[in-house]
Amino acid sequence: MHTYGSSLRVIRACLKKDLKSSFSEPLFTLVSIILPLNVLLLMSLLVISGGLAPTAVVMQDSGPLAQQFYAAMSQSHSFVLQQATTDQAAALIEQGRVVAVVTIPADFDARIRQQQPVSVGVKINNLNTDFTNDIRRALPLSITSFYAKAFPNMVTITPRERDAYPQDLGYIPYLAVPILVIGLMVGGMVQAGTAAAVEWEHETMKELLLSPASRLAILLGKMLAAFLIGLAGAVVVLAVLIALMGVWPIHWGELIGFTLLILALFTAWGTLLGTWLKRRTPLSTLAIGLCVPLFFLSGPFGPISFFAPIEQIFARLFPVYYAIVVLQHAFHDFTLNTYGIGINTLILAAYTLGGLILATVALRRSTLPH
């Protein structure tokens, strides 16, 4: 029979033992602490382009209408423009430095004024349909915007936009939040999983299992140690995100609370994985290797309901999705699903509890040969 006091003693002892073990391997602990930051840097490479097409514009006509057309292109949220001569533009697209060349012909102004057809040349490096179609669609946007400003009486149909939020959020501040979640996941799982698996690798689990300590207390102590080290990693990655990248949270209280909950969740699942795999190598390879697929699977680019139904089903299976939802609310006050913050928090708490229960069951059913 385990009393409350003895369980607390076991938790404290396991916590102290694991913290001491971590400090005896300072290099590995340091690597674990900077692992979430490493994930942030790695995944930032994914989103750094911002989705704008680097484009060269050959202005063969420098008249006011041609200039207005250029201005319409630059305001279309689609291009990073640079002016070039024909030869320079040809070289730029050949070298892969731009993905499109737009040529505004010499008689652009004259023809537009005389209401004669005028053909704007577009040379596209049509690498793949997604990026190429963005360019193809951005040019009609430039044309209608140009006409709407230059000849409001001729092209009478225009879009009138009403936005849900006062300003658009850039690509990077939006995606920094899912990347943070993935960083917390990798940091928590690797730290907790390693601490669990090492007991099996060194066969010290034998002593733990033979001791009168409760399995749950052992796990709680180990998880607490992993959680504290993971917390150091979370503080580092949050500091970089907020101070260096300038992604400022709107709800500080939510940010702190959800970060702690998410870290606890992945600490529990890391412990489960470590107890199940019993070896550190597959554990860390799996936790780091799956961070990119899980990032894409969990709806990082917008509300999951905007995606195909099959993607929605898969995303909802993983806690990463709910973690993204609550942290997007904490950082940007965004609502990404209709469950409400309370339900999302409860789901995350349930996953945490589920991880802890499964880890305890896995430990109870574990045996070690002599």
């Binding site: 750094i48 349909t129 963005d134 140009f146 001729m154 009138r160 550190r280 680019f301 195909a308």
Partner: protein, 370 residues
């Protein structure tokens, strides 16, 4: 002399392949990240670029109906026809990104040459979805005007010229770099673990005491990494070909196999160097997968490198995988051997350098162990 060398290499290869096959979890984990990404790409490929919108057509006149038809047929959105109330519900439940409303006076306004607007209510929580809508609505308007032929007030037309013979579907475009990722993870992880394992389990002592030369031991290690990685690569390429994901044709099979072999050799050499340098399985497994992911993302990941900032494009030219990726793109998508000589030479040089690094690291490690 040569016979003894070959026999020693063969024996080490056989031993390492047996060890590799006895650890199916490790094999599975090395292929899992790339296969998971491939699976996710397949899931999302269908819906990319098409945002879900609710269309409210309040105008029953001819122009209103034409506009609605264009929006349906333009391949720009996933459209749900709705009443204003239904559209609001869809929008609030996050089932659609935007509500497009064709106003009741649309036809009348056009016929009277009066300005009219398509109302666009956007959930602008991230720039990616919002800009897709901003581009798509003017595209639809332009298509409506195009139906008027010579009567159209929009006189600017686009004369598109594509740099490449065909657009590549997004999924196919992503599948090819994922094949490279699989090779790099597999080569780096399996070779580094195999090398570090000899030190961690202290079997390096037996190897050094045996009559096998250090050259034979190192060659055997690199060859095992190369053989296992290449086998996995060819297997996945074969499956990809059967499923129509990546389909080289005719003589280009040879260039694809050559590039895969060079990437596999580069990864295996680098893996052996890493394993011999760190000599411990735990840090090696984490470092190997992180390095593989960095190499992958520095060359554009599954996206288009040309959209990335110039500094990243410059860094990419120093990563050997950049050349492997270019050669594979040329061979698989465009049935071309453009710059194959340059790409193969850089890859072969890098593979040679990586193998030399592996040899150096193994020699130094062996000298320390003697």
């Amino acid at each position: 002399m040569l016979r003894a060398f070959v026999r020693a290499v063969w024996t080490i290869c056989k031993k390492d392949i047996r060890v590799w096959l006895r650890q199916p979890a490790n094999v599975a984990i090395t292929v899992l990240p790339a296969l998971a990404l491939l699976f996710i790409d397949a899931l999302s490929a269908g819906a990319v670029g098409l945002s879900p919108v609710a269309l409210v057509t309040l105008d029953h006149g001819i122009k209103g109906q034409q506009m609605a038809q264009v929006i349906h047929q333009a391949d720009l959105f996933r459209v749900s026809d709705a009443t204003p109330a239904q559209a609001r519900a869809l929008y609030q439940n996050l089932d659609v990104v935007a509500i497009l409303t064709i106003p009741a006076n649309f036809t009348r306004a056009i016929e009277a040459h009066q300005p009219t607007h398509i109302e666009v209510q956007i959930n602008n929580l991230n720039a990616d979805f919002t800009n897709d809508i901003r581009r798509a609505v003017p595209d639809a308007i332009t298509q409506l005007y195009q139906q008027q032929g010579g009567e159209s007030p929009i006189k600017v037309t686009l004369q598109e010229q594509n740099l490449r013979s065909q657009d590549i579907q997004l999924f196919q475009y992503s599948a090819m770099p994922l094949l490279v990722l699989l090779l790099v993870i597999s080569g780096l992880v399996s070779s580094s673990l195999s090398a570090a394992g000899e030190w961690e389990t202290r079997t390096i002592k037996e190897l050094l005491l045996s009559p096998a030369s250090s050259g034979a031991i190192i060659t055997g290690k690199v060859l095992t990494g190369f053989a296992t990685t290449m086998t996995l690569g060819v297997l996945v390429l074969g499956v990809g070909d059967l499923l129509g994901w990546v389909q080289p044709e005719g003589v280009y099979w040879l260039s694809v196999l050559l590039i895969l072999a060079l990437v596999a050799l580069f990864s295996a050499g680098l893996g052996v160097a890493l394993g011999a340098l760190l000599q411990r399985i735990q840090p090696v497994s984490s470092a190997a997968i992180v390095i593989a992911l960095y190499l992958f993302f520095l060359t554009g990941g599954t996206a288009v490198l040309a959209f990335d900032p110039m500094w990243l494009q410059t860094i990419a030219t120093f990563v050997p995988l950049y050349y492997g990726r270019h050669a594979l793109e040329m061979a698989i998508f465009y049935h071309s051997s453009d710059q194959l000589g340059r790409d193969s030479a850089v890859l072969a040089g890098s593979a040679l350098l990586a193998v030399s690094l592996g040899i150096l690291a193994m020699r130094r490690g062996m000298a320390d162990s003697r």
